[in-house]
């Protein structure tokens, strides 16, 4: 797979991950995570060969787009984790007894 195809596919998968994370759809999130990991494997293999000079310029905007998406996904997952923290640390409120009369 060429670099631009790889990065485009990563953008699609990360976008799917973002949608799933927002919808709390764990099945879709897992699938997207799995696809993402597979693509990262291919990317690491490709990177060992280096990026050909001719592909660098057109690839730059795509990588920037990918990194932007990556930050958004990270933010959403952090939010969900924060919510879980909040739910799990919630204590039943205690109320003062009513005064007689």
């Amino acid at each position: 797979m060429s670099y631009d195809s790889l990065v485009l596919r990563l953008i699609q998968v990360t976008d799917a991950q973002l949608v799933a994370a927002k919808a709390l759809d764990t099945l879709a999130l897992d699938q997207a995570t799995q696809d993402r990991a597979d693509l990262l494997f291919e990317l690491e293999v490709e990177l060992q060969e280096g990026v050909p000079e001719g592909e660098r310029l057109p690839l730059k905007p795509l990588v920037e787009q990918l990194l932007l998406l990556e930050r958004r996904v990270s933010a959403v997952i952090a939010l969900v984790n924060g919510s879980l923290d909040q739910v799990l640390s919630y204590d039943e409120p205690t109320y003062a007894p009513r005064r007689a009369g």
Partner: protein, 458 residues
């Protein structure tokens, strides 16, 4: 550990944790759902991989989602559900029949019979007195009407019970088919069928409540449902139950190979309770018939030995034409005597004076111990019948209360095994949260790859 193997482990951790999170949220959502069995996720280490001379872990994987379930307790619960429903249903019908005998608004049958003898005793003061004769006629007529209305009410109750049995049987056959269909779906699911198994448990429990059944589980996951020794559901095939009613009796059959096999003796649950109550009511009606026959014979025979005002032998005092399924339904005081009280044959001989009450005195003496079956008086026979009705209802009530205690204990046991403990689920959520956080943290190392890529295109 390299980035990719770390990612792989993280991914498997995420997957396992999300399945566990789904199970926990499902448990919390269904904490109050009837028949729901708690789910738990069974995790196991994925197979490690060998890299050079080293073995590396590859994370965890979901080995399966278990359903907290104990077949022994479930079978006990199903059996107890049937027993409880049977006792409760029997009591419900017997309570109604008892109310017909012990109507608090009007005098009970023994008191009314005693009223007949009291009016006859009053009439001995002046057997020719019209007002005293009217009192005799009124009390006899009222008593006979009360006996026949009680019998008719009991027969009506039997009819209503049989109608209800028809309705229950229709539901039962649908339920049997539902269980067979669920068996089919369970077999097809190849072990991943917790929701289907819960649904099937609910159907089996409801079936037990209606007719009292047992079940056992097969290796393919299907449940075989039995009524006594007869199979109702075998794998994906369900059989049909039918009922045939005759007066005061209902017989049940299961269809086997185009034929019918009787299962009346095996019937439990609400329908079994109704069937038992039906038999008991039939017994009360038989007793009432016997009482009516003996009372009529005694009064009629003795009245026939006396003579009325015109010197004619006495007509029948009570009559029972036997038009219904029971003699007692048609029990009446002779309309001729009600219309013309000069026909009362109180005199011992045809030429006696109008005030002679010798035969009347003999009629009163009939109310003695030994005059009725069981060496009882008429009132004693009725009191004995009432006592039997009351004891049957009280016994059914005791049984209902005892079965309720047993059922409650078993439900508590079942809940301790299969029920959802919200505190425990909260603990599970904490565990899942930790898994998510760990997996997400490791995933962040993918950023290293993107940094490399970004450096390359910069």
């Amino acid at each position: 550990m390299g980035i990719l193997s770390t990612l792989s482990s993280a991914r498997s951790g995420l997957n396992a944790a999300s399945v566990a999170l789904d199970a926990a949220s499902n448990n919390v959502s269904n904490a109050s759902t009837e028949g729901y069995s708690r789910r738990s996720v069974r995790l196991e280490n994925s197979d490690p991989i060998q890299i050079g001379s080293n073995w590396r872990g590859t994370g965890v994987s979901v080995a399966g989602v278990d359903r907290a379930y104990d077949v022994f307790v479930s079978r006990q619960l199903v059996a107890s559900t049937g027993d409880q429903a049977e006792a409760e249903s029997e009591y419900g019908v017997l309570y109604l029949s008892e109310s017909w005998f012990n109507d608090v608004e009007i005098d009970g049958l023994p008191t009314m019979l005693q009223g007949v003898y009291d009016s006859l005793t009053q009439a001995t003061q002046d057997p020719s007195d019209e007002s005293l004769r009217r009192e005799v006629a009124t009390s006899s007529n009222t008593f006979a009407t009360r006996v026949s209305s009680t019998a008719e009410s009991l027969v009506d109750l039997q009819d209503q019970v049989q109608d209800r049995m028809d309705g229950e049987l229709s539901e039962v056959n649908q339920r049997i088919q539902n269980i067979a269909d669920l068996n089919k779906a369970v077999i097809a699911s190849q072990g991943n069928a917790a929701d289907l198994l819960d649904q099937r448990d609910i159907q089996i429990s409801a079936l037990a409540e209606q007719i009292g059944v047992d079940f056992h589980l097969e290796e393919d996951g299907s449940a075989t449902v039995l009524l006594g020794g007869h199979t109702l559901v075998n794998g994906i095939e369900g059989r049909t139950l039918s009922v045939q009613h005759s007066a005061g009796e209902s017989s049940f059959f299961v269809s086997i190979d185009d034929g019918l096999t009787g299962v009346s003796g095996e019937m439990g649950g609400a329908v079994g309770g109704m069937s038992t109550a039906l038999d008991r009511i039939e017994g009360y009606l038989d007793d009432l018939d016997l009482f009516v026959e003996e009372l009529s014979t005694q009064f009629n025979d003795q009245h026939a030995l006396g003579f009325d005002a015109s010197g004619t032998a006495g007509q029948e005092w009570f009559q029972a034409a036997g038009g219904g399924s029971h003699l007692a339904e048609s029990f009446v005081f002779n309309q001729n005597l009600l219309d013309d009280m000069d026909l009362f044959a109180f005199a011992a001989n045809a030429s006696a004076s109008a005030g002679d009450g010798e035969n009347l005195r003999v009629m009163i003496e009939m109310e003695t111990d030994g005059a009725f079956t069981g060496s009882k008086s008429g009132e004693g026979a009725l009191l004995s019948l009432l006592s039997e009705v009351g004891e049957d209802a009280a016994s059914a009530l005791r049984s209902t209360e005892q079965q309720a205690v047993v059922l409650n204990d078993l439900q508590g046991l079942r809940d301790s095994i299969s029920g959802v403990d919200l505190d425990e689920e909260a603990a599970n959520l904490i565990e899942f949260q930790a898994s998510y956080q760990a997996a997400a943290k490791v995933l962040r190392v993918s950023g290293e790859l993107f940094d490399t890529l970004m450096d390359a295109v910069r």
